[in-house]
C-alpha cells in the first residue's frame, strides 16, 4: 500500500513539474507571439481592419474545449490549413480528457486562462472569475457574419438579467435546425420486428410484447447463449441517457434536465415526482420481474454494455444512438444487419407523444468565449466571424471543393469514393481532411438551411441519410411506411415552443445553493431508482414512498423554487 502511494506520489510530482514547465513555456510563447499584434489592436480597431495584410499575420491562440477531439491534428489537416491561410490563426488546442467539469474548474481556479474557452455550462466559473470578455461591442464592430447569423436572436446571447453581457459565441446550438435523424426513442433489433410481421410498436406494452414473443421463439442464439430482452446502460452519467431521461420522453414531458417545467405556468417540478413517471419505473420493475430486463443492467460498465450489444444478443435498448453506436457498428462490420436497431417512438400510453423532438428554439449557451488573457480579441472575433461566414461554414462542413465535394449541376455532392472513406475509414478520413474537427468551434446554421447557392449548409439531408441505410433497415422502414426513422416520431411543429429554450442550458450562478441540493437529489435518485426497478413488484410502492421522502428531506422543493426563478429570469431575458 505504502509503496504504491510513494510511486504514485513521485509520478504525480513529475507530472506536476512537467505540467508547470509546460505551462510556463506555453505562456511565454503566447506572450512573444501576442506582443506585436496586441500593440496594433489596442491602438485602434479601424487600423487593423484597414491593413488587411497585417491581419493575416500568423497568430497562435491557445484554445480549451470541454469536448474531446481525439483525432485533432493541430490544424495540419486540409480544412485547418485553409482556415489558417484565410485568417492567419493557428490554434494550440487542449481538449478535456476524463471529467471535463473538473478540468474546467481547475483551469478557472488557476488564474491562467487559455485565449479561447469553450466550456459549456462551466462557463459560469469563468464568468465568476472575471476571466472572459464581454463581446457585445466586438461583435458589433468586427463581426458582420455573426450578426447576420444571430439576427433576431441577439438577446438570447446575453448572460443573465443582472449581467447582460455577451460572453459566449454559441457554436453548439444550430440555427434553424430541422432534425433529420432520429437518434433516440426505444430501439428494437430489425430481426425482432421482421420475424413478428412488423407489429405496431407504439406503447411500452407493444415493446414488451415484441421482446417477449421473440424470446419465446428464440430463447438462445446460435451458440447457445441466452438472448437478452432489454438491457440498460447505467454506468455513471449514462444513467441519465438510458434510465432516467426516457421517463419523461415516454410520459409527455420535455427534456429540461432533471426538471419538468409546465410550458404555460413555468411551474417547476423535479421530474421524478410526477406520478406518470412512477408508472414508467413500475413498468421497468415489471420487466425485471418478468425476466425481460438484463440482470446486469445496473452492474455492468459502459464497455461491457457495448460489448454485449456487439454480440447481437440484445433485442431491445432504451438509449441514444451515439451511446450504443460502437456496439452496433461492430455488428454491421460483421454483416449482421438484421441485428441492428430501429428507433420507435414508444410512450406509456397511446395518447401521449414521444417528446424526443420537442424543439428548443435557438439556444445560446454552449460555445466559445474569449478570455481576458487573449492577446488580440479583435483577431479572435474575426476568426470566429470567418468560420461563421458562408465560406467558412461550407469549408467546415463539406471540406474543400474539388477535393472533398464537387458541384454537379449547381448542387454540392460528395463523390462516392470520398463518402465511402468517410463512413468506413472515419478516423483517418477525419485526421486527413479535418472535416468534423471544427464544427464545435463554428457558429453555424443547422440541417435543412440553404446557402446563397441554394445548397444545404450541412452534409446531412434526407437523401444523404437514406443513402446511408443498409437494405435491412430500408426494408423495415418501408414496412412501417416511413423513409427515415424520424418519420415515425411526432414532428417538432406538434409541440408548443418553450420560451426558455431548455432548462439544462441555463447557467447557474456559481454560489447558488441549488447546485448542492441538486447533487444530493441526484445521489438519492441514482440509488433509489435502481433499487425500485430491481425490487419485488409488491415492494415497489414502499420503496417509491421512501424515495419521495428522501427527496423531501433533501429539500427538493427548494431546488424547484430556485430553478423556477432561473427559468423565469431566462424567459424575461429572452423575450425582451
Amino acid at each position: 500500500m505504502i509503496k504504491t502511494r510513494k510511486w504514485s506520489g513521485i509520478a504525480l510530482t513529475t507530472a506536476l513539474v512537467a505540467g508547470l514547465l509546460a505551462g510556463c513555456s506555453g505562456k511565454n510563447n503566447n506572450d512573444n507571439q501576442g506582443a506585436s499584434p496586441s500593440g496594433t489592436s489596442s491602438s485602434s480597431s479601424t487600423a487593423s481592419a484597414s491593413a488587411s495584410p497585417e491581419t493575416l499575420k500568423p497568430l497562435n491562440f491557445s484554445f480549451y474545449s470541454e469536448d474531446p477531439s481525439p483525432n485533432w491534428t493541430n490544424m495540419q489537416d486540409d480544412v485547418g490549413k485553409v482556415i489558417t491561410e484565410k485568417t492567419g490563426i493557428t490554434l494550440d488546442a487542449e481538449f478535456a480528457v476524463g471529467d471535463p467539469v473538473q478540468k474546467s474548474a481547475l483551469i478557472a481556479a488557476s488564474g491562467e486562462y487559455p485565449d479561447l474557452i469553450s466550456a459549456k455550462n462551466s462557463i459560469n466559473k469563468f464568468v465568476d472569475a472575471g476571466a472572459v470578455l464581454d463581446l457585445t461591442d466586438l461583435i458589433e464592430q468586427h463581426a458582420p457574419n455573426l450578426k447576420k447569423l444571430y439576427e433576431g436572436q441577439m438577446s438570447r446571447l446575453r448572460y443573465s438579467n443582472e449581467d447582460k453581457s455577451i460572453y459566449v459565441i454559441p457554436t453548439y446550438a444550430l440555427i434553424n435546425n430541422t432534425p433529420f435523424k432520429a437518434e433516440g426513442g426505444f430501439e428494437l433489433q430489425h430481426r425482432v420486428v421482421k420475424e413478428l410481421g412488423y407489429p405496431k410498436i407504439r406503447t411500452v406494452a407493444d415493446f414488451e410484447k415484441a421482446i417477449k414473443d421473440y424470446l419465446a421463439l428464440h430463447p438462445k442464439d446460435e451458440n447457445g447463449n441466452p438472448n437478452i430482452g432489454l438491457t440498460l446502460n447505467a454506468d455513471d452519467w449514462h444513467m441519465y441517457i438510458s434510465v432516467t431521461n426516457p421517463a419523461f420522453y415516454t410520459t409527455g414531458g420535455a427534456d429540461d434536465g432533471e426538471f419538468n417545467i409546465n410550458v404555460d405556468t413555468q411551474e417547476v417540478t423535479y421530474h421524478f415526482r410526477r406520478p406518470e413517471e412512477k408508472e414508467y419505473f413500475r413498468w421497468l420493475n415489471h420487466m425485471n420481474a418478468e425476466g425481460l430486463l438484463d440482470k446486469q443492467s445496473f452492474v455492468q460498465k459502459y464497455d461491457q454494455y457495448k460489448a454485449k450489444i456487439a454480440t447481437g444478443r440484445v433485442l431491445g435498448l432504451i438509449d441514444q444512438q451515439w451511446d450504443y453506436d460502437d456496439g452496433e457498428k461492430a455488428l454491421k462490420a460483421e454483416g449482421k444487419f438484421d441485428q441492428g436497431y430501429g428507433h420507435y417512438p414508444v410512450t406509456m400510453t397511446e395518447d401521449t407523444k414521444d417528446t424526443s423532438y420537442w424543439p428548443t428554439g435557438f439556444m445560446a449557451g454552449y460555445g466559445i468565449a474569449i478570455s481576458k488573457d487573449n492577446p488580440d480579441p479583435v483577431r479572435a472575433i474575426k476568426f470566429l466571424d470567418f468560420l461563421a461566414s458562408e465560406e467558412g461554414q461550407v469549408l467546415v462542413n463539406w471540406g474543400i471543393e474539388g477535393k472533398h465535394y464537387k458541384i454537379e449541376n449547381g448542387t454540392r455532392v460528395i463523390p462516392k469514393e470520398v463518402n465511402n472513406r468517410k463512413i468506413n475509414d472515419a478516423t483517418n478520413f477525419q485526421k486527413e481532411t479535418g472535416i468534423g474537427h471544427y464544427q464545435n468551434m463554428t457558429p453555424r446554421y443547422g440541417n435543412g438551411v440553404k446557402d446563397s447557392t441554394g445548397n444545404y449548409f450541412t452534409t446531412d439531408n434526407p437523401a444523404q441519410i437514406i443513402e446511408g441505410y443498409n437494405d435491412v433497415e430500408k426494408e423495415v422502414l418501408a414496412a412501417y411506411g416511413a423513409q427515415t426513422w424520424i418519420d415515425l416520431f411526432p414532428k417538432e411543429s406538434e409541440f408548443k415552443v418553450r420560451p426558455w429554450g431548455a432548462a439544462w442550458n441555463i447557467p447557474i450562478p456559481g454560489d447558488s445553493e441549488t447546485t448542492i441540493i441538486e447533487n444530493k437529489l441526484k445521489d438519492i435518485t441514482w440509488k433509489r431508482i435502481p433499487e425500485a426497478i430491481l425490487a419485488k413488484p409488491e415492494d415497489f410502492d414502499k420503496i417509491w414512498d421512501a424515495y419521495m421522502k428522501d427527496l423531501d428531506k433533501a429539500n427538493v422543493t427548494k431546488a424547484e423554487d430556485l430553478r423556477e426563478a432561473l427559468v423565469k429570469e431566462r424567459v424575461a431575458l429572452w423575450s425582451e
Binding site: M1, K3, A129
Partner: protein
C-alpha cells in the same frame, strides 16, 4: 561565525559551539541537502498557506485581500452533512480491512517464500505474485467485475459446479459485500509487491543466527518464530505506523471503478466526496475544509500510533 570565534573555555555555550563546529566540518553536506530542504518547503509547506481558503468563501480570480472570510462555516456544513458520516464510515471500514489484510498476508507470504529452498521456483513465484501491481485499477476492476459477473462469471460458474449455489449470485449488486470485494482485490493486486520489502528485511538477518538455532535443535517453525519474525519486527512496525497515518486518505480509484449505483451507500469514500461536492462544484473552500480535516486526522493518527509503539515496543519512526 561568532560562536566559533568565542573562546572554547566559555562553559556557558559548549553545546552551541559544538553545533557550529560540526556545522563547519560538514558544511558541504549541509549545502548538498539545501536544495531538498527548499524543495520540501515549496511543495509541502508553502501549499499549507492555501488552507486559509477553508475559512473564506473563495472565488478564483480575486486577490487574497478581496476574498470574503466566513470563519468556520464550511466546517459547520461538513459536520452537519449526513453524507459526510456515511463516506467517513466507508473510508474507515475499507481502510481498516485493507490494513489488516494488507499487513498479515504479505508478511506470511514473505516468510513462506523465504522458506522455499528451490531458488528457481522462489524467483518465479515472487515475480508472478508482484506482476498484478503493475496492472492499472481500471483493468483490475474490469477483471473483477467479469469474474464476479452473474452472467458466465468464473466464480459463479465454479460455485454452481460445486453445487454450493443453484443460482448465480449478483456479487457486484450486494452493498454489504462491497468492502470485502475491494479488500480482496487489493490483496490480489498488492500482496506480491508489499512482500518485497519484507523479503529484503529477511535477507538482512544474519545466517549465523539460523545456524546457531539449528545446532540447538530448533525446528523450522521455531526458527521462524524466534529469528525471522523478530528480525523483521522493526520493518513491520515502521510500515504499520506509516499506513495508520494514511488511514483516512485511501484515494477513491478502486472504489470508484468497482462501485455502481446499487452499492453507492458502501462505495462512496471521503476523497470522492471532496471531489464531487468540492472541486466539481467549484466549492474550493469546502474542498479545502475536507482536506484540512483529512490532514489533521492523519496527523493525530500518526502521532498517536507512533507514541503507542514507542511506549510499548520501543520502536518508532520519530
Amino acid at each position: 561565525m561568532k560562536a566559533v570565534a568565542a573562546p572554547l573555555t566559555n562553559k556557558e555555550k559548549p553545546r552551541k559551539s559544538r553545533f557550529w563546529t560540526t556545522f563547519i566540518r560538514n558544511k558541504y553536506l549541509y549545502m548538498m541537502s539545501l536544495p531538498f530542504v527548499i524543495w520540501v518547503f515549496i511543495f509541502s509547506y508553502y501549499p499549507l498557506w492555501g488552507w486559509t481558503m477553508a475559512f473564506q468563501k473563495y472565488k478564483p480570480g480575486k486577490s487574497f485581500g478581496e476574498q470574503k472570510w466566513v470563519g468556520l462555516e464550511h466546517f459547520r456544513y461538513l459536520f452537519n452533512d449526513d453524507t459526510f458520516y456515511l463516506v467517513l464510515r466507508n473510508t474507515l471500514a475499507m481502510s481498516f480491512m485493507g490494513i489488516i489484510a494488507g499487513f498479515a498476508i504479505p508478511i506470511i507470504f514473505a516468510i513462506m517464500l523465504n522458506e522455499i529452498r528451490h531458488m528457481a521456483f522462489k524467483r518465479f513465484a515472487q515475480t508472478v505474485s508482484y506482476l498484478p501491481h503493475f496492472v492499472s485499477w481500471v483493468v483490475v476492476a474490469g477483471i473483477v467485475t467479469k469474474l464476479l459477473s452473474a452472467e458466465n462469471g468464473a466464480v459463479n460458474e465454479f460455485l454452481m459446479w460445486l453445487g454450493i449455489i443453484s443460482e448465480p449470485i449478483q456479487f457486484m449488486a450486494k452493498g454489504e459485500w462491497f468492502w470485502g470485494i475491494v479488500t480482496v482485490s487489493d490483496v490480489w493486486k498488492e500482496t506480491g509487491w508489499n512482500t518485497i520489502i519484507y523479503l529484503a528485511a529477511i535477507a538482512g538477518i544474519g545466517p549465523e543466527l539460523y545456524e546457531a538455532a539449528k545446532v540447538d535443535g530448533a525446528s523450522r517453525l521455531r526458527q521462524i518464530w524466534h529469528i525471522t519474525l523478530p528480525g523483521i519486527r522493526t520493518t513491520i512496525i515502521i510500515l504499520l505506523i506509516m499506513s495508520i497515518g494514511h488511514l483516512i486518505s485511501i484515494g477513491f480509484e478502486k472504489q470508484f471503478l468497482l462501485g455502481n449505483n446499487l452499492v453507492g451507500d458502501y462505495s462512496k469514500v471521503l476523497d470522492l466526496y471532496s471531489l464531487e461536492y468540492g472541486l466539481q462544484m467549484s466549492r474550493y473552500s469546502f474542498g479545502t475544509a475536507i482536506n484540512m480535516f483529512n490532514s489533521v486526522v492523519s496527523l493525530i493518527l500518526l502521532f498517536s500510533a507512533n507514541g503507542l509503539f514507542k511506549k510499548f515496543t520501543k520502536e518508532s519512526i520519530m
